[in-house]
């Protein structure tokens, strides 16, 4: 029972979704399912929040290394939730909404939640993202070395595209005769970049995508036929 019902649910729901794709009266079911997923995931998020708290509370009570940082995490977590749910500093925006104290948008500029987003959340997240610029450089330095044919192709294309991407591409037209009056200037490397992009990049992606589609079909069938139930756990 503990195992059969979930598998049946997965199979039946899955097959309904497939059939719905071909049957106009059932088509909305696919949209509804996505809608429902959002709701299930949101409720599950509360479980995630609870787990986060337990995880850090345990660290604090065990006095594990760095438990002070767990306190910071918990504090910022609860402050954010309190500020956001109570809509601290958010005010109603129109006359008719005045009598509803909680009607202001929760992300209103100037509200507490907005402040947290603007000055805590956003700077950290975008700086994390910006660190990638450094990692791109170190990965390129380390990985793009001519060890074999594959690596040579990898690094040569990378070099060509890197030059072709900025205005430095003009260097490649230095050896060409000057363009005819009125015609667009011609940069061989820019054309080469465009050619690589239109042919090899597109083709590589297409082939990967064709493969992925077949992989998805097989994986889906494994779930629908109940062949793979690892996500449902073991027998108890």
């Amino acid at each position: 029972m503990s195992k059969t019902v979930p598998i049946l649910i997965a199979s039946i729901v899955g097959f309904i979704m497939i059939v719905a794709n071909f049957s106009p009266p059932l088509l909305p079911v696919r949209q509804i399912a996505e809608d429902w997923f959002t709701i299930v995931a949101t409720i599950a998020m509360m479980l995630g929040g609870a787990n986060l708290c337990l995880h850090h509370l345990k660290k604090i009570s065990d006095r594990e290394a760095g438990w002070g940082f767990s306190t910071v995490t918990l504090l910022s977590f609860f402050i954010t939730i309190a500020v956001g749910l109570l809509k601290v500093g958010a005010v109603p925006e129109s006359e008719q909404q005045l009598k509803f104290a909680w009607s202001g948008p929760f992300q209103q500029e100037g509200s507490g939640f907005w402040w947290i987003y603007q000055y805590l959340f956003s700077p950290i997240v975008s700086t994390m993202f910006a660190l990638l610029a450094f990692y791109v450089a170190s990965a390129a330095f380390r990985a793009f070395r001519a060890k074999n044919v594959e690596a040579i192709l990898l690094l040569l294309t990378a070099l060509i595209v890197l030059v072709g991407q900025t205005r430095d591409r003009e260097i490649t037209s230095l050896f060409l005769p000057p363009p005819v009056e009125g015609a667009l200037p011609y940069f061989p490397i820019a054309d080469l970049t465009e050619f690589i992009r239109k042919t090899f990049v597109t083709a590589g992606q297409r082939a990967i995508m064709i493969g992925i589609a077949l992989g998805v079909v097989a994986t889906s069938l494994r779930i629908l036929l109940g062949l793979d139930r690892s996500y449902l756990g073991g027998d108890e």
Binding site: F22, P28, I32, N51, S138, L154, L225, S230, Y231, G234
Partner: protein, 350 residues
């Protein structure tokens, strides 16, 4: 009660694979399947099950169908515009299922070795030798992405190896539902490995839904704990390079896999092994060693064969069109191109 049980066959294959090890294991792979009627066990419906199913699935689906159909005059149950796509779907699914059945009945299939998958056991072994933990990241998307599901399926195989070696496996997740599923998977793997006490709920925990908040935490953990093996299998976006570079800095063996084509270059550049696209989906079938699942890989190959044939045929027709166009009909209209039959009828899409 088990929906299908070929555990014996599975065990045998796993032992052959482990014993002979490496590439030869795959070459010497001969499936010991069971006949289909042995595999299938009847599913018993209790009244409660039926009632729940009715409540959960059938009733809402029907009522929705009713609602939307009420407005139109005539109810059309099949969209004839999608006939060719329906046939194609059925054909591909049928091929995959037939291959599964054949594999179950004991037909041996050759499966080529995939370096990244062979390295998984080695990576787990290395972590054990070094006495360091293993990191598994099942992507940063929710379980509604099939990549995540594929990642979780591989997780159960990796967890089983880790449980056999008794090496700690850390699974931080970025979604609560993924955490629940990962816990189920690891718990089941620990049971299957015969070490139920290996499962430690605290090692599989939710961090945050935010992409870079999650990465900040995982990379911080990597720097402090210095895992010896890192697995990144699932759906990844910009953080792929971040994770891979952090793993590289601590000297871990890294095995990555994603179906997100934009992120593959970064994994290829920064990881030791990368499962490219489809290989991620094949990974769990490979690692399970079950004949039925391996048969699916053969089925997928027939799909690829179909793609190649369609392409060759379509391109020849298109070239023919280009060299000698069909001209005009009696009414003076341009006749449709010959390749149109392939692009607009066979490959019409849904």
């Amino acid at each position: 009660m088990d929906f299908h049980s070929d555990t014996n066959a599975k065990k045998e294959i796993i032992t052959t694979r482990v014993k002979s090890g490496g590439q030869s294991a795959f070459e010497s792979l001969v499936f010991v399947g069971k006949r289909p009627w042995d595999c299938r066990e009847r599913v018993r419906f209790t009244k409660k099950t039926l009632a729940m199913l009715l409540f959960l699935v059938v009733f809402p689906a029907l009522s929705l169908a009713d609602e939307s159909a009420g407005s139109t005059k005539q109810r059309v149950w099949f969209d004839t515009g999608k006939t060719s796509f329906a046939l194609l779907t059925i054909a591909i699914c049928a091929t995959v299922i037939i291959c599964t059945e054949l594999a179950r009945r004991g037909k041996p299939f050759y499966v080529r070795p995939i370096a990244g998958l062979l390295a998984m056991e080695e990576a787990v072994g290395r972590a054990t030798e070094m006495g360091k933990p293993i990191l598994f990241v099942p992507g940063i998307e929710d379980i509604k992405e099939i990549d995540t599901v594929a990642g979780l399926m591989v997780l159960s195989s990796v967890a089983k190896m880790a449980a056999e070696y008794d090496t700690p496996l850390e699974v931080p997740t970025s979604r609560a539902l993924v955490m629940t599923a990962a816990r189920e998977a690891v718990q089941a793997a620990a049971l299957a490995a015969g070490r139920p006490d290996y499962y430690n709920e605290d090692r599989i925990h939710y961090i945050t839904d935010e992409q870079f908040g999650y990465v900040a935490s995982v990379c911080g953990w990597m720097y402090r704990e210095k895992p010896a093996a890192c697995f990144f299998l699932g759906k990844f976006f910009a953080e792929s390079l971040f994770l891979a570079e952090a793993g590289n800095a601590v000297g871990a063996i890294q095995i990555a896999g994603t179906a997100e084509t934009t992120q593959l270059p970064f994994f290829v550049a920064a990881c030791d092994y990368t499962l490219l696209g489809e290989e991620l989906f094949a990974a769990s079938a490979y690692l399970s060693g079950e004949p039925a699942q391996m048969g699916m890989l053969k089925g997928q190959d027939f799909g690829k064969l179909a793609a190649i044939v369609l392409l060759l045929f379509g391109c020849s027709l298109a070239t023919w069109d280009s060299i000698s166009p069909r001209g005009k009909s009696e009414e003076g209209q341009n006749l449709p191109r010959r390749s149109q039959w392939i692009t607009d009828t066979v490959l019409k899409g849904g």
